[in-house]
Symmetry: C3
Subunit: 175 residues, 3 copies
């Protein structure tokens, strides 16, 4: 069985400079390991908060590596250097505002500052790109909320077929 390609993109000035270790990328990896029941291959990238570099990495993961799903972490806040949503929007043909709405709503139960997150999701060709928050705890929370809709979304854009461990997170496909 051909493995599914999935991109994990950590966007962080400090982690990419080695000032501290990236804990967010691994948190995504750990979650996906529990969630996915199909063989998958990870493409991990760690880059600074530069819009051009983020766009380039997203394009490479979608177009060259053929990732049906690219999950980003970091760079979604209101600060000057936070440009991940801008880069996401620049490379996507369609934005899916429901992802950001639901993730903010879920995070809002934990922290009132959830409304500061500009995280979004969008479609590029046969790839779905989802922005996650930077904090590892918030990552699992957000993935748990939106992932039931992810496999069907990727079906609709003719990407690879994802199957999940229904005991951990139940993929929903209408009809």
């Amino acid at each position: 069985m051909v493995p599914v390609h999935i991109g994990i993109l950590t966007v962080s000035d400090r982690a990419s400079q080695g000032t501290y270790q990236d804990r967010s990328g691994p948190a995504i990896r750990d979650w996906l390991k529990l969630a996915l029941k199909v063989p998958w291959l990870e493409h991990y990238r760690l880059i600074p908060d530069e819009q051009g570099l983020i766009e380039h990495a997203l394009k490479e993961l979608c177009d060259q590596q053929d990732c049906c799903l690219v999950v980003t972490t970091g760079g979604t806040g209101p600060a000057l250097r936070d440009v991940t949503p801008e880069a996401t929007e620049a490379v996507c043909s369609k934005m899916l505002p429901g992802f950001g709405e639901l993730m903010r709503q879920v995070s809002l139960k934990s922290v009132p500052t959830a409304i500061l997150s500009r995280q979004t999701a969008g479609v590029r060709g046969r790839s779905l790109i989802i922005n996650l928050p930077g904090k590892p705890a918030a990552i699992a929370e957000c993935l748990q909320a939106v992932f039931p809709a992810v496999p069907y979304c990727i079906d609709l854009i003719q990407g690879a077929r994802l199957e999940t461990d229904a005991d951990f997170v139940k993929a929903f496909r209408p009809r």
Copy 2:
């Protein structure tokens, strides 16, 4: 009493080719028959998922037919051919994001894939355009949620005065 003009626009490649019958347009008609207490005239259009054709139909219904309300169904998902929100945004001067937020929130109680819908609403001149989902069951659910705000919205843009059957759906007008 002069009847109010309302547009019902079904956007579907397959229904417009006759591959199957449009059940969504009739679902909107049936709902409006129960909801409206003013005499109204329906303008029904069935077209394929082509952005140019959708824009043209929306303009015609708003500008030529003088519809104070145009309700669309279909074409709001993430697939390549889904372009109804794009067409809506292209012909509107103001977007009303609260409609999409509420409709996704309501649909989310039934299906986790509700976050994939990009449905929105907007204003063109004296007309309110609302995108509904493609599935008949979801249509009633969404109309029930947003319609209490519709008559007052149309008042504000100086469209026709709508009255609803308050036992079925209660229009709200502040003050």
Copy 3:
């Protein structure tokens, strides 16, 4: 202690012509008096619903008066003259959709017409701009909902440090 500068911008054709008295600006002032524990200086402006004038006032309050926070009231509905969100978007480098989502959600508990509000928030330099509804009752409701995230947001954009009266509204700063 140097006082923090805060802008209050009432946008209303009729109030600016003197047809009636602005009650929304004072409602914001009263709320902030109860909320803030730091010395602050108010910059109050009352202007008509003209996009150019709104943009000019926002720029002046952010850039000349060095307001870390500018709160607007009025002009967020679907009517032709409602252009406050357009002006806000035009002067901001980053939009924060979570503010509008939460405010609409909170207002929706009081009135179904809350979905008609296009209110939003955004960042201009070191200033946070927040659109509030026009009705005094809705103003307090919305400020109460979003303000816990405001001081940390202004920290992140390197504006002045705000402290709140935690008994009235509790500012949240992660870690």
